[in-house]
Symmetry: C2
Subunit: 296 residues, 2 copies
Amino acid sequence: MTLTTAVIGLGSMGLGAALSLARAGLPVRGVDLNPAPLAELAAAGGIVAANPAEAAEGCEAVFVYVVNAAQTRAVLFGENGAVSAADPGTVFVLCPTMQPDDAIAIADDLAQAGMLAIDAPVSGGATKAREGAISIMASGPSEAFDRTQPALDAIAARVFRLGDAPGAGSRMKLINQLLAGVHIAAMAEAMVLAAKSGLDLATVQKVITQCAGNSWMFENRGPQVVSGDYTPFSAVDIFVKDLGIVTDTAQGLGSPVPLAEASLELYRSAAAAGLGREADAAIAKILAQRAGAKLP
Amino acid sequence: MTLTTAVIGLGSMGLGAALSLARAGLPVRGVDLNPAPLAELAAAGGIVAANPAEAAEGCEAVFVYVVNAAQTRAVLFGENGAVSAADPGTVFVLCPTMQPDDAIAIADDLAQAGMLAIDAPVSGGATKAREGAISIMASGPSEAFDRTQPALDAIAARVFRLGDAPGAGSRMKLINQLLAGVHIAAMAEAMVLAAKSGLDLATVQKVITQCAGNSWMFENRGPQVVSGDYTPFSAVDIFVKDLGIVTDTAQGLGSPVPLAEASLELYRSAAAAGLGREADAAIAKILAQRAGAKLP
């Protein structure tokens, strides 16, 4: 029996998931405000839906790939929302990064409507999304995982099962985003200091990736500073949002996060300087400006 | 022709280098104030020297593995210093982390005394030092590298040649230490937030090491917070020193390093709380105390 799927929100991550579902031979519908990813999905054999309700009608697994909790609520419960048309028992896979409390509240509202939900934020970036090789930090009832297994296998290399209750997936994602956001900022800080020191940045990239100062983000984002090409894989604005959620959550828990705060200041300054849509590594430009350093 | 070597300073890194030299069949003398590593070196076939001068007499390659620039000057130029007894043309390999300006000044003074010098800070930790598998970020004259090649091969998996002038090795090492020190602090901040969130720390360690939030330090030091075992590989005091050098150097260059500063505050607080000799990951205890979190 084939699992019928839908993806609501075809940004780089959602489109990657939808294309991976199509490649795996699963029927997939897509919905987005932007026509370009809809055309790409259609060319890959997917079906274009006019709105979330149309996408969810008769579907068994609905992946929500919008940006935040407010958009998630809108596409689920708003006008032409997915829940209005979905069959009872449909599994909603919630992929946005959001406050754990929001993930819990949305999952509860879905349960009230007779639906199942997985709190399922993702990690890995646009390239891995297209390869069907992201990681998912997921919590929710076993029944929801069982029903959506073929779809999860199609989009992810690894699904970390973090228990039956929504919230745990989002909590783990925030830990990942704290580290990812700080590591990009540390890379930028290190590259600007290296430039001021007169070191060749390509050499710095080569040496550090083989030393104890390496990070996944240094390896992945460092080349953007070395080349001066800030074409976004993931934009500055994403970390303005995600580190904002991290610091808000940490404040609510009374847990000090001085590095996340120092990093968030850099992302906010970059956004204020008009760099919000550039690659997140463009925070290096803010530090370079403050240092009077020249970057490539 | 066999290269005769000496190692001044047999802390965990220096002892590892000396044992690696002995294992490679090179004659090696060692000197330290602590009898334990001297005994271990002697058992491995090395020769115990009473002071730096005795160690350096008739030696071709002298590795300096003390803690900082002041100690380097003392063992080279002080009472019973190595330079007083070394033959002209002896190569001094300077491994401590120090200000680039100090490395340059010491190399210049060695040149004045008719010696050769390599500015050669190392990365990799105690285990890799014993395996002869550290990385060396090195700059100095080609002649110095040519003469010491068998010894460098014995102690290092990788020697990054960063030019003919002293200073470049130390500059690169500071970039590595900035990143390493910040990444340990980010790990600690993330683990404490995870504990406050109710996540299982062993699960956090497992998930993050497979996601984009990973770093060399998260992978290496995270298990210390998960287990609660802060037996030092590298102590809090090392990063009090090294991030102090980073922030001083950055200030001198006018390059902002907000993350290094926020991290240094944590190492300093840990040292002030009596944790200076514990593993660097023990800065997590400071954050846990501020958060009212319980760590293992």
